[in-house]
């Protein structure tokens, strides 16, 4: 087991290093093969680990940070949750790597691309498998760096580089809170091991637990693009589409959920923390869903939908439904990767056109993309019996189960969000694939034929997305696989609700989803389609407001960025150069002035010096007289 775990990590790392260091010298094919091979190798190891898995294990490989009572060894911890996530990550990333071979087929810096992609997988796996928090933090920051570098992959565009920078900085703000939580836990419990921390958690006073929980929540919010740190994710779409699929949909952005779930035994004892988590999740889910309704960039729609779906997961954690959150995390990984990859196909086919209003009628032209994409859309919209339907519903059900006014209103908000989700998902589908083609655009360029490797990867994802529900079927259909598998992990206890209630809730959810579909159909498939599209392109006030993400960016620019820049400039010019150096120069000038005093006596006339001597005589005799009297 120790070997498998090590290989799971080392393979992507080795692949990344090879590509980073000598990738430029290798033939393209070799580099691509290595990059994909290592991920699939890691997947195989994960499968082997799965087959050999009996009970959670900790594997220690060496010391990392250890001095005095601070101990953070290089140690991995494999339990059911991390095992499943490892499988998912290696599998999805493996597919995306394959897809990238096609997508980046014409890109010159393929070595850099694959190196970063591999390193990302490594860091993500470290994050998932780490047995202690500093190591987890290593993965946490590592994925952040890879995300930064990959968002700005096409660095010559200032927009892309800026987007990467924004992602890095905003997530770092969250990371800081996470880091503070880490050292604080060290202070409280004297250990860094996740298992020990969770074990010792009951010893800490509740107030402290609340604060720790909030800090972890901020950390999670940064990485998982939750309010108020959600602003970076839409911009992150500047990166290549497979990157968006891998990092900003399937894996990295769910790290926050993973963290909260991991530390749940610690933070779960504080109702305040849980409420805060739930509110953050619910509010973000709703916020992002509204924004998604008004986007015109295909990838931005998906980005907002990602934010929204992760909001659901966070909401699930806040409701204490870890299994549901984990379940949604899995299905979301499949269908969101699928959607992004599909979108990537569309974008490639249309020569990097991302504006949905310039698309339309692609159903006929790209059938190989359309059908898998449709599967993804169904999942995202929570169409009954799709994977997304079950997982989302599990969360909503858990929230409802919690009861109380807060959770009930969150449940209602969640339903409303589900409606919006269905609406914008189908809006996207209808605008892009149905209706008339934008002839001007198409005639100019014509469609590019897609490499087979790109479309073929959509299929397994579509299957997994649609059929994901079987992983954890509701109780009335038999016991969920995941629930059973996760059951023994602390914090993952199964939710118990009556079958009837569950059925009713699912019925409501199905209805909401269908309602969203209907609204979208009515708006975009009916006769008004062209009118609606024209109006949306012109943009009403509300539309623009939503399109700009409620002007959150502008708000931050006003509140933080501009004062920061001004303050920096002031401190440099005003304090450093004017106040401190000015004071020193003043001192120097003062010295210069003082220097004139003694040299003023040196008039050049001999009489002055004689006067000096005579004055000395007078003074010394006067002093003698005084001293002796």
């Amino acid at each position: 087991m120790k070997l498998y775990l090590a290989l799971i990590l080392l393979l992507p790392l080795a692949g990344g290093l090879i590509n980073a260091l000598i990738g430029r010298m290798l033939p393209r094919k070799v580099g691509e093969t290595i990059a994909c091979g290592v991920i699939w190798g890691a997947f195989s190891c994960a499968l082997l680990a799965y087959t050999n898995f009996t009970a959670p294990v900790t594997a220690e490989y060496g010391s990392w940070l250890s001095t005095f009572d601070f101990k953070a060894p290089i140690a991995l911890y494999l339990d059911q949750f991390s095992l499943i996530l490892t499988l998912m990550i290696t599998f999805v990333c493996g597919l995306i790597h394959l897809y990238s071979v096609g997508y980046m087929g014409e890109e010159a810096s393929h070595a850099r691309y694959f190196a970063l992609l591999n390193l990302f997988v490594f860091a993500m796996l470290v994050l998932v498998l780490a047995a202690n928090l500093p190591l987890l933090y290593l993965g946490w920051e590592g994925v952040g760096f890879c995300s930064y570098a990959l968002i700005g992959f096409w660095y010559t565009e200032e927009k892309n580089a800026t987007a990467g920078r924004k992602a890095f900085i905003v997530t770092r703000i969250g990371d800081t809170a996470f880091g503070i939580a880490i050292i604080w836990m060290f202070l409280l419990f004297g250990t860094q091991s996740i298992a020990e921390l969770n074990f010792l958690a009951p010893l800490a006073p509740p107030g402290v637990i609340t604060v720790l929980g909030i800090l972890l929540l901020i950390g999670a919010a940064g990485k998982s693009a939750q309010l108020p740190l959600s602003v970076w994710l839409p911009d992150a779409m500047a990166g290549p589409t497979p990157v968006s699929a891998q990092i900003h949909a399937a894996t990295m952005v769910t790290a926050g959920v993973y963290l909260l779930a991991r530390m749940f035994p610690l933070i779960g004892s504080s109702p305040t923390t849980l409420a805060a988590i739930a509110v953050t999740g619910g509010a973000t889910a709703f916020y992002a869903a509204t924004c998604a309704c008004a986007q015109r960039d295909l990838k931005r729609i998906l980005a907002y939908s990602t934010i929204s779906q992760i909001g659901y997961m966070i909401l699930g954690v806040g409701a204490g439904a870890l299994t549901a959150a984990g379940f949604h995390l899995l299905t979301h990984a499949f269908f969101k990767a699928l959607l992004f990859l599909g979108a990537g196909c569309v974008i490639t086919a249309l020569h990097h056109q991302q504006d949905i209003f310039r698309m339309g009628g692609l159903r006929g032209k790209l059938p190989a993309v359309y059908w898998p994409f449709l599967a993804g859309v169904l999942c995202l919209a929570g169409f009954p019996l799709s994977g997304g339907f079950f997982s989302k519903d599990a969360i909503l059900g858990a929230v409802f189960e919690r009861g109380g006014s807060l959770y009930t209103s969150l449940f209602l908000l969640g339903l409303l969000t589900a409606l919006l989700t269905a609406f914008y998902t189908f809006r996207m589908l209808f605008i892009v694939f149905h209706g008339e083609a934008d002839n001007a655009n198409h005639q100019e360029n014509g469609e590019r034929t897609l490499p087979l490797v790109m479309t073929i990867t959509l299929v397994p994802l579509a299957i997994l997305g649609l059929g994901g529900g079987v992983l954890n079927l509701p109780a009335y259909l038999g016991e969920g696989l995941l629930a059973r598998f996760f059951g023994s992990i602390p914090g993952f206890g199964a939710m118990h609700s009556s079958h009837m209630e569950e059925l009713i809730l699912q019925g409501i959810a199905a209805a909401v989803s269908l309602l969203g579909l209907g609204l979208a159909w009515q708006r975009y498939m009916g006769v008004q389609r062209s009118g609606v599209l024209a109006r949306e392109q012109a943009g009403s006030k509300l539309f623009i407001f939503l399109q700009n993400g409620w002007y959150l960016d502008e708000l931050y620019r006003l509140l933080f960025i501009r004062p920061f820049v001004r303050l920096a400039r002031f401190l440099w010019k005003g304090v450093d150069e004017t106040a401190i150096d000015g004071a020193l120069e003043g001192l120097a000038r003062l010295m210069g002035r003082l220097a004139l005093l003694p040299s003023a006596w040196s008039t050049g006339k001999v009489a002055t010096s004689l006067f000096g001597l005579a004055g000395g005589v007078a003074a010394i005799l006067a002093y003698c007289a005084w001293a002796l009297s």
Binding site: R24, D69, E141, Y155, I183, F564
Partner: protein, 494 residues
């Protein structure tokens, strides 16, 4: 051990200067001589590192691995005492490495008065080695001042820009602190002589002196001022950006890599042990200056237009963490602070090297002149990104190790400071990312025709990069080396 290896470490560079004399006008001969001397130093340092565990079996008193002691100026009570423990061993290795880097990086760029340059470098190496090894306060002070002169010449002769202003500013700033420290050293010596009737400047002896609190405070203030200027702590830092910016590359490398470390080292070695109560009382001041420094320097760094200046300000911020780690005076934090000294030495030295290399090619350091270098200088950009990421404190690279240990330790003695300092970790990221973006990414802003790194430069940077990664992934041997001295310093038994 019969070979006085510590004395060799100190005096070999001076002997190297004499070796340079015959080759004074022959640049092709002088450079290898100097490099060989520096490499010999490095070999010695590494050899010490390889054998420290053996030496630790039979340590000298106070846990020193090696001790060389001889009377020097009995009339003043000054002895020639050099000693080595884990902390100084780390610093010695850093010194040896940074000097090799400094010599290598200026291999081609110093075209005028090469021999003078090389001899200045060697003299400085001797001075810095002496500072890190001296255990007699007077001897320490001698080395402390001695290392200023070569730096003064280095900035003044081979510098750029307002080099005369900068070098004088540097010299006067550091002198102003150290002169008062000299008085304090003498006063301490006299107090000890009063109490025991023995005249000595040796640290182990002076540690026995009983001081009333008020005296302690005054003396500690004098020491602290000297060290705070070297650190540098806000608001005594303004010499640093000027000195760094105008110094030649090797000068900046040594300034950032080593000279700043002498202040923190001396505070650990002398300041705290000699005046424990006073240091305890001044801790709030120390904390606040360090914290202000972290935030202030990072903000100012963000506003800079000149790459070197930006990195110089970033040094102030990073050294703020070292300051916090020392102020906490707690084993984990102190280990972190010491390891961070080495980490920062390597990383900042590398960054200054890189800026120097760019400056040699483009003859400008304005951030606004560059852009899109990834396309033109892929190797340079690769290394630059790596070192920038290190400076941002990304885990797995060395800066993280130091900063994280510092903060994890500090939270035990002062949670508020640790939390605030942790918040400061965001800022290096902000300005470094900005620097990287504007220089390495984006579109080219001025058409510059530049050549990528040559093998010599790749070699330097690769070594530094490996060190960065090695110390980031596997700092355990170094931490182990620091264990005993840190424990002794913080009042434990080995």
């Amino acid at each position: 051990m019969s070979i006085p290896i510590l004395s060799i470490l100190v005096f070999l560079p001076l002997a190297g200067c004499l070796l340079l004399l015959p080759a004074w006008n022959c640049r092709r001969l002088a450079r290898p001589i100097a490099l060989v001397v520096a490499l010999t130093e490095l070999t010695l340092a590494l050899w010490l590192y390889a054998s420290w565990k053996g030496l630790a079996v039979n340590p000298f008193p106070q846990g020193f691995l090696l001790l060389e002691d001889a009377p020097w100026i009995p009339a003043f009570g000054i002895r020639y005492t050099l000693a080595l423990d884990g902390i100084s061993l780390l610093m010695i290795m850093l010194t040896a490495i940074v000097f090799c880097v400094g010599l290598a990086v200026s291999w081609d760029s110093i075209k005028e008065r090469t021999s003078l340059f090389l001899s200045m470098m060697l003299v400085m190496e001797a001075g810095i080695m002496g500072v890190f090894l001296a255990l007699d306060l007077a001897l320490f002070y001698l080395f402390w001042e001695m290392m200023l002169i070569p730096m003064f010449f280095l900035i003044g002769i081979w510098g750029h820009g307002r080099r005369l202003y900068s070098t004088l500013k540097f010299f006067l700033f550091t002198m102003s602190g150290s002169l008062l420290m000299l008085l304090a050293i003498i006063a301490l010596h006299l107090l000890y002589a009063q109490q025991t009737g023995v005249s000595s400047f040796q640290l182990q002896e002076l540690l026995k002196v009983q001081l009333p609190l008020e005296t302690q405070l005054w003396l500690y203030a004098a020491f602290f001022l000297a060290f705070a200027i070297k650190f540098p702590l806000f608001p005594l830092h303004t010499w640093l950006p000027d000195a760094h910016t105008d110094a030649p590359t090797a000068g900046s490398v040594i300034l950032a890599g080593l000279l700043l470390k002498t202040g923190s080292y001396a505070l650990i070695r002398f300041g705290y042990p000699l005046f424990p109560q006073a240091a305890q009382m001044m801790t709030p001041l120390f904390y606040s200056l360090a914290l202000i420094g972290i935030f202030y320097a990072s903000l100012v760094a963000f506003a800079q237009q000149d790459m070197k200046r930006l990195i110089a300000y970033s040094s102030i911020g990073h050294m703020g963490y070292v300051a916090i780690g020392i102020a906490a005076w707690q084993p984990v934090a102190l280990s972190g602070a010491i390891i961070q000294m080495a980490n920062h030495g390597v990383t900042t030295a590398a960054l200054f090297c890189m800026v120097g290399m760019l400056d040699e090619r483009a003859h400008t350091r304005e951030i606004a002149a560059f852009g899109g270098l990834w396309g033109k200088l892929p190797l340079w950009s690769f290394f630059f990104l790596l070192f920038a990421v290190t400076a941002m404190g990304v885990p797995g690279l060395n800066n993280f190790v130091g900063e994280f240990l510092i903060l994890a330790g500090t939270i035990k003695s002062s949670p508020l400071v640790a939390v605030l300092a942790f918040c400061g970790i965001v800022f290096p990221l902000i300005y470094m990312v900005r620097l990287v973006q504007e220089v390495v990414f984006q579109k080219e802003r001025q058409p510059l025709s530049l050549n990528d790194l040559n093998p010599r430069e790749i070699g330097i940077l690769a070594i530094l990069a490996l060190l960065d990664i090695w110390m980031g992934i596997h700092p355990a041997p170094l931490l182990e080396m620091l264990h005993v001295p840190v424990q002794l310093l913080t009042g434990g038994t080995p």
